[in-house]
Amino acid sequence: MQALVIAAHGSHLNPDASDPTYAHADTIRETGAFDEVREAFWKEEPHFREVIRTLESDEVFVVPLFISEGYFTEEVIPRELRLEDWDPDKWESDGTSASQATLEAEDVGKTIHYCGPVGTHDAMTDVIVQRAETATEDPDVGEGFGLSVVGHGTDRNENSAKAIEYHSDRIAERDRFDEVKALFMDEEPEVDDVTDYFESEDIVVVPLFIADGYHTQEDIPEDMGLTEDYRLGWDVPAEVDGHRVWYTGAVGTEDLMADVVLERAADAGADIGDAREAVRELAASVADPEPSAGAGAGD
């Protein structure tokens, strides 16, 4: 038997923080690739601390639903899961290349395949692009468009910027969009000046965050000048300084994220059969646009 644990942050204050985790876990449940699929959280239940004991499987694949390698993925999750012999060096990562480490959880004696976070997996690049497609309702979006990947920046974690830059570079290499730029909330280049960085009239802005919340629904839209007050919502696209800004909300809510989770587990040796194809088909079939990101933002 094999189990999948999706490890996410969660929130004591905001119930929406765990929505993407539940959604992606459900998608993977539907594929039947794992005997057991479990959500686990730092701030909600089941807590990281107790999740492994709720599983009957001996092989457990843990995929952190986090954007970057750093404090949570290297310190908090392995410690709380009681992963014996964990050492960040086991990932041999330069900040964006963690794959997996096989360890034992002390309290249960099970084999844990501890995977790198979804945010730094190569497949994440596709999710960002898909996000641009969903936001513009155009599966071929690219020509005449600039794309910006937005991250928090380096207040606590130097790897957080690396993940943003990594995917921006990979998208740029594809020559699909006219321009690609990594922008940040808390460091240069800043998302406030988004239009300064693009010549293209149309700019898609994809925040590399797991869940929608304060930053993606309040800070960033206001900083970019999409709206005076987030509670009033904003248009997609919104006119800013002669550009059309297509703001998409957190990329982590994109359906294709479930595919990244599966890839992480498969890279670590999980037998997932044709689950990836199933998820990709599902994501493609629901790729019709979600309700305008701004419309409900103030609710």
């Binding site: 929130s11 004591h12 204050l13 905001n14 119930p15 539940y22 459900d26 730092w42 701030k43 909600e44 239940e45 089941p46 807590h47 601390r49 107790e50 999740v51 004991r53 709720t54 009957e56 404090y71 310190e75 908090v76 410690r79 309290d107």
Partner: protein, 390 residues
């Protein structure tokens, strides 16, 4: 009761290697098969005779099939929980511990009669009507799918204990375990419930006809990890992390909480882990061998370490406790001093919504509070108090 043919065949397949389960014994020796139940014994049977004998012991046969073939999972928490649901003997319960935990929670004071494990015939009788259990605020019924001609197959119903007397037609009916996640997200006042074991689960819903696996999954969505930790407690292998261990393990912004004075840990446990706030029974102490005086509560589920809410609260408490105390002078009448106490109590007990508009005799009444503020606050909106220790 007749035993379905495939039940018999499965049983016969196992008979030669021996069966010993829930009072049913079947084995094969040189003189043929032997079948034994608590009421009867047959020996020297050939295969046809064994079939007939098994038919006579039909309840034991279908019971064996349900547990060994349908549920399986020997030694798992899932199986133990489902056995508990129908008051079957728990193989892995230490006998003298077998009366602790949720099954003595009914509170009817009739623990013996209501909770003693049932042998197969009594259980089969009871499963026709449905066997009710309480798991926190959940009421669980185990029953036969086919009441008139039970083939051993059980299903489970689940609703809020407050809905015990509700008509099912008045409840919102679900069958997907995942719906439990949404039901557990908000309380009756629409407030988010980050602590799943807070005693604020709203009522008005029902899950009906769940399989055993789906029941366990549903319960896990309502009360994550309670089944696993209950099972560990039952086996005597519950691992408890006491306050200091948990506090010392923290890093980042929670790194400071191990500095919280012991006395403040007491206050915090008293504030957060009381039965009125949490259905878990606090098993963690200050540290091994150093018990907290604060009552751990009588909740049905064991709490094996401070939860993330308590850890978050501890961070705030640590900051508060790092401040030095001062002496202040302020003018209050005796009634006003009493009123301050009443205000704090009302907020701490979550009572403010119950205080009626016109009940000016309650110190936490809104008009009274506004009157006090109008009288005693200065122009900056703070209490007129003077620090007297320089």
């Amino acid at each position: 009761m007749t035993v379905a043919t495939d039940d018999l065949e499965t049983l016969l397949d196992h008979a030669s290697s021996g069966i010993a389960f829930d009072g049913l014994h079947v084995d094969e020796s040189d003189d043929g098969y032997r079948l034994e139940t608590p009421a009867n014994e047959w020996t020297g049977l050939d295969e046809d005779e064994l079939r007939r004998a098994l038919d006579a012991a039909g309840e034991y046969a279908t019971n064996w099939r349900y547990w060994q073939e349908r549920i399986g999972g020997e030694g798992t928490a899932r199986r133990a929980f489902l056995r508990w649901c129908e008051r079957a003997p728990l193989a892995d319960a230490e006998t003298d511990e077998a009366t602790t935990g949720p099954w003595s929670e009914s509170g009817e004071g009739d623990a013996d009669a209501g909770d003693a494990p049932l042998a197969v015939p009594e259980r089969y009788d009871a499963l026709r009507d449905g066997i009710d259990r309480e798991w926190g605020q959940l009421s669980i019924t185990a029953r036969f799918v086919d009441v008139d001609d039970p083939d051993g197959e059980r299903v489970y119903d689940l609703w809020h204990v407050d809905d015990a007397d509700s008509d099912i037609a008045d409840l919102e009916v679900y069958d997907d375990p995942r719906d439990a996640r949404d039901l557990a997200t908000y309380d009756d006042d629409g407030r988010y419930r980050p602590l799943k074991t807070a005693p604020t689960l709203p009522a008005g819903w029902a899950f009906t006809g769940l399989s055993g696996a789906d029941l366990v999954e549903t319960v896990e969505f309502f009360y994550p990890a309670t089944v696993a930790n209950w099972h560990r407690e039952l086996q005597g292998t519950l691992d408890v992390d006491h306050w200091l261990e948990t506090a010392e393990r923290q890093t980042g912004i929670y790194d400071v909480i191990d500095e919280l004075p012991r006395e403040a840990v007491e206050w915090m446990a008293e504030a957060c882990c009381a039965d009125s706030q949490c259905l878990r029974r606090r098993e963690w102490q200050y540290e091994e061998g150093d018990e907290l005086d604060a009552d751990g509560g009588d909740g049905p589920f064991p709490c094996r370490e401070p939860c993330s809410l308590v850890v978050a609260a501890a961070r705030k408490c640590t900051t508060l406790e790092s401040e030095t105390e001062h002496t202040y002078e302020l003018e209050l009448t005796t009634s006003e001093l009493n009123q301050l106490e009443e205000l704090i109590d009302a907020v701490a007990d979550g009572r403010i919504d119950e205080i009626r508009e016109a009940d000016v005799y309650d110190g936490a009444n809104r008009y009274r509070a506004r009157y006090l503020r109008a009288k005693r606050f200065d122009d900056d909106g703070s209490l007129e108090a003077t620090r007297v220790d320089e």
